[in-house]
Symmetry: C2
Subunit: 334 residues, 2 copies
């Protein structure tokens, strides 16, 4: 592999001039050409490590998500990765397998790799540590969940109105007893989605039966359990919102096992995965999060911070979701 030195020798110019050329500085037109050819001829490739040693930049971004097996996150990551790469950044992607202890460990790993910036979904690992990062020179962007008391840029879906609108659709279709399978308490997205459920009930002057609100753990199993529990209660819901993809899967499994007929016995709205919505029968209504937009917003915001542009910091981007109503939802007659 050839170095700047080789190019310098080949062209008869100095190392500094070559470096300047590479970094877009002013060089005589004739030398420009000379250098360009030399670089091509010698197949010169910049050594990022040497450069990084000098500039203290690695041109690498760390991305930390709860799970690489969660298509919601990987889709977003894929988009982010593309955009960053266009700006010359590589990405180190880590997952913490939904485990808060691991979250901390992986985050430290990322930092130890001297990444220039971080985009992460936090389950609330070591807030002090995350805060200390933002104190340093390294920009951090929070994805999908906000964390209280931490001044960081945030990109989230409008979770509150997502569930508000979904439940509103059910209310409009005359449902009075609407169940919801939520995520865990004290989890940002879950709390927001719960709030939306409550608020829309208030806005339509409907009573809230706490028993209709099941708290799952965002897992397939808890979705299954949630549906069972709601169906077994003495006055079961006629409609249901399930608030993430995994629990939606679980709920559908339970519906199949319990031979519940959708939508005549139960109207249902799921979350996140449009493709899956078409596979089950009848077609599943779902709440779609704007994954593309989330990814783009996060990537561009990070790029901006990386350039030193800290305008309107900390920024909060709250992106709109969309509700797709399909045959899995029925209008009640009386």
């Amino acid at each position: 592999m050839s170095t700047i030195k080789d190019v310098a020798k080949y062209t008869g110019l100095s190392i500094a001039t070559i470096s300047k050329y590479i970094n877009g500085g002013n060089v005589l037109e004739q030398n420009r050409e000379l250098i360009k050819n030399a670089i091509e001829k010698l197949e010169y490739k910049r050594n990022d490590m040497a450069r990084g040693l000098k500039t203290n930049k690695t041109m690498t971004i760390g991305i930390l998500i709860p799970s690489l097996e969660n298509i919601f996150f990987t889709t977003i990551v894929s988009i982010i990765e593309d955009i960053l790469q266009d700006s010359g950044y590589g990405t180190i992607i880590c997952d913490f397998k939904e485990n808060v202890d691991l979250e901390q460990k992986k985050l430290e790993f990322l930092v130890s790799k001297n990444v220039d910036g971080i985009i992460m979904v936090s389950y609330g690992g070591d807030l002090e540590y995350i805060k200390s990062l933002s104190g340093k020179e390294i920009p951090v962007i929070l994805l999908d969940r906000m964390i209280k008391g931490v001044d960081l840029d945030v990109v989230v879906a409008d979770n509150l109105n997502a569930s508000y609108q979904a439940v509103e659709e059910l209310i409009i279709k005359k449902h009075k007893r609407i169940g919801i399978i939520c995520g865990p308490k004290n989890t940002y997205t879950a709390d927001e989605r719960r709030k939306g459920y409550i608020r829309v009930h208030q806005d339509y002057n409907l009573d809230i039966d706490e028993k209709l609100m099941f708290n799952g753990r965002y897992t397939v199993e808890s979705g299954y359990n949630g549906l069972e529990a709601l169906k077994k209660m003495e006055n079961p819901p006629t409609a249901l919102l399930v608030t993430n993809y995994e629990m939606t899967i679980g709920a559908i499994m339970a519906i199949n096992d319990l031979n519940i007929v959708v939508p005549s016995e139960l109207s249902i709205i799921g979350f996140d995965n449009i493709q899956m919505a078409k596979v089950v029968r009848p077609p599943l209504s779902i709440v779609e999060q704007p994954m593309k937009e989330i990814g783009e917003t996060a990537a561009k915001l990070l790029l901006k911070r990386l350039k030193g542009d800290y305008a309107s910091f900390p920024a909060v981007h709250r992106l709109k979701t969309k509700v797709h109503i399909k045959e899995s939802v029925q209008k009640l007659v009386n």
Copy 2:
């Protein structure tokens, strides 16, 4: 951030000694202790870039897969990432969105990042380029697909026997006309799965009707089309094997849309995603690939090569799959 120099000053020892300690060399016990404390006190962290400049190692592995939205690949990646990280390696994960041109570009990107090794799934981008990599000092491990004429370590599932065994189950259940929705021609996994289908027919002395073999493109849409086509033929199959996850989804969508009753009208075996097998009704039979084993094997093999151990190079690991038969398959009576 403190450097070796700081530690040297703090302990009164020389830079060289500290470096030796860090790299596990021989140091007097008393100095050991001294250095250890100093490092702790000063929060010294090794600078990987400086080290890399010297050693020409980045402690970073490149991983290249067709799509980050394909859970088959991301599951494997997650496993690989974990193992590599335990050995101090970071991973740069790229996907090429099922696009051969992008495959090439991303691969070059990885190389430009000076990764120490690469694990990749190739759709057959620039073979010459991949070959040239193996000529260099950088170890490359091929995942999921073999490439002819390239001497590289390979970790694949036993695709041939995967479809062999699946179809065998159908044959045992007295099916005579068995359809198969395959991947594209000249794609390694698809060709192998096709071979298995053919071989098991031969072994059981069954005629092969070429019309029962549909070639899709490993996409949801082509799975849908495949099922439609097979169902419309004058003498349609009584059983079907679909040979990847996406096409399985597509086939199920078509089954729903066409109101085909499984298994009485059609027995079906899908591929890859166990979870999904439980969501559809009746429970779907599937061929499961050993993702954990694939990931572990690839990661460990790479680690071995990284250590300079080139025993039995190029190694070919062909891992066994498992067929799970569920209610979606029916035994024919006559």
